[in-house]
Symmetry: C2
Subunit: 210 residues, 2 copies
C-alpha cells in the first residue's frame, strides 16, 4: 500500500522557511540554515549529482527517503517560489504533481522530473500521485499549506521531521491553521546526530475536538 | 556560577499550554497532555509527596532538575493562573520570585515555598533569585512571556525542552514574539523514552539580525 509521507526540516520555533520567501530566496531569509545538515550528506550530494559528502546513519536515512519515493506531491506555492532555482535538471527525477487552481500544460525538465498540474483538489492530486508511484510511496514535498491540509484531512501517513536547534523568529510555520483540535502521534524513531533531531512520526489518533 | 535554566514541556506545534488557560484550567484545555510523561515519574511523585512511580533516566533527569534549583523565577501570569491550584503546600519548597508590575506582600505557604513579588524588571528579579539560590541554580518556571523575555535578553543559560509528540492546534506558544532575529543553540543531550524527546539546549550565538 502506497503511503503519503513528508520529510521536512523545522526550526525549534516551528518554522520551515525564513521570512520573505520568494523566487529570489525560496527558503526565506535565513531558511538555508535549516538544510545545512542535509547539504553535507553523501546521499543528498549523490541525488544532486555531486560527489563526496558525509556517510553514516543520517545519509542512509536520506537515501531511504529518496528510494521509497515513486512520485511527489507539491503545493503550488512551493512550485512558484522554487521552480526557477531548480533549473533544467531538478533533483526529483520523478513525476511531481502540483496542486493548482488553474489548469496548465506539464512542465517537463531533464533527468526524469515532470511537473504536472492537478486542479481537482488534494485528494484528486494524491490519487494521481499514488497511481504514478506504483508500489512506491508518495513524498509530500511541501510547502506548509499543503502539509497542513494533508494533516487536517487525515491523509498524511508519516512525517519525518528534522528539528534543527535554531530559532528563526519569523517565517513560515509548519504547524499552523490546523485548528483547535489535537492529534496524537507515535514517535517511532529518534536519532540525534549533527545536532539535528530526527523524528519519524505517525498519527495515532485522528484529529478530534480538544 | 549560578545559572538560569528552564525545564519545560512543549507540543510538536510549539505550545506549552492549551487554549483558555486560567485559574480553572492553569494549563489550558488539553494542556495536561503535555505533562503526562512527568506525572508518572518516581522523582516527580516524590517531590509532590507521593510514593511509587517509574524510575529510570527520565526520573533521574527530573530529580537533577529539582536538586540543582536554589530558587525559582516566575512570571506574574503563571502565578495568577496557577496559584490557586498549588494549594497550601506548593511543590517548589524554595523561594519563588514573581516578576510583577505592582508591589505586594510575600505569599508564604507551608513546605518552604514563599512567593516574593519583584517590581524592578527581569534583571532585578533574576539578581534577587540568584542571591537566594546560593550556589545552586535558578529555575525559570514560566510562563511563555518571561521565557521569551529571558531569551531575548540573552540571560537564559540553558533550556531543557521536552517535546511531546502531539499537536494541540492552539494555545500559548513557547517561542513567540522573540522577533526577526535568529539564535543558534547547541543540543547537548538527546534521549528519547516514553515518546517524549528531551533536549538540553544552550544558546551558542546571541540574538542577532537574520
Amino acid at each position: 500500500m502506497e503511503r503519503l509521507f513528508s520529510d521536512i526540516s523545522m526550526s525549534l520555533d516551528g518554522f520551515i522557511a525564513g521570512p520573505f520567501a520568494g523566487p529570489e530566496h525560496p527558503l526565506g531569509i535565513g531558511g538555508d540554515r535549516l538544510h545545512q545538515w542535509v547539504y553535507q550528506l553523501e546521499s543528498w550530494r549523490r541525488q544532486h549529482g555531486l560527489s563526496g559528502g558525509v556517510p553514516g546513519p543520517e545519509s542512509d536515512a536520506m537515501r531511504e527517503s529518496f528510494e521509497r519515493t515513486g512520485a511527489y506531491l507539491m503545493g503550488h506555492g512551493m512550485y512558484r517560489v522554487s521552480s526557477q532555482s531548480w533549473g533544467t535538471h531538478p533533483p526529483f527525477s520523478k513525476p511531481v504533481f502540483v496542486l493548482s487552481h488553474t489548469p496548465r500544460e506539464p512542465d517537463v525538465r531533464t533527468g526524469g522530473t515532470t511537473f504536472m498540474f492537478v486542479t481537482d483538489g488534494l485528494r484528486g492530486a494524491l490519487a494521481r500521485a499514488k497511481d504514478a508511484a506504483g508500489l512506491r510511496d508518495v513524498c509530500l514535498a511541501g510547502g506548509a499549506d499543503i502539509i497542513q491540509q494533508a494533516i487536517g484531512a487525515g491523509v498524511l501517513d508519516e512525517l519525518r521531521l528534522h528539528i534543527v536547534p535554531v530559532l528563526l523568529g519569523s517565517g513560515t510555520r509548519l504547524f499552523d491553521r490546523i485548528g483547535a483540535e489535537y492529534i496524537e502521534w507515535e514517535t517511532s524513531r529518534v536519532n540525534g546526530a549533527s545536532g539535528t533531531v530526527h523524528l519519524t512520526l505517525r498519527p495515532t489518533a485522528p484529529a478530534r475536538s480538544a
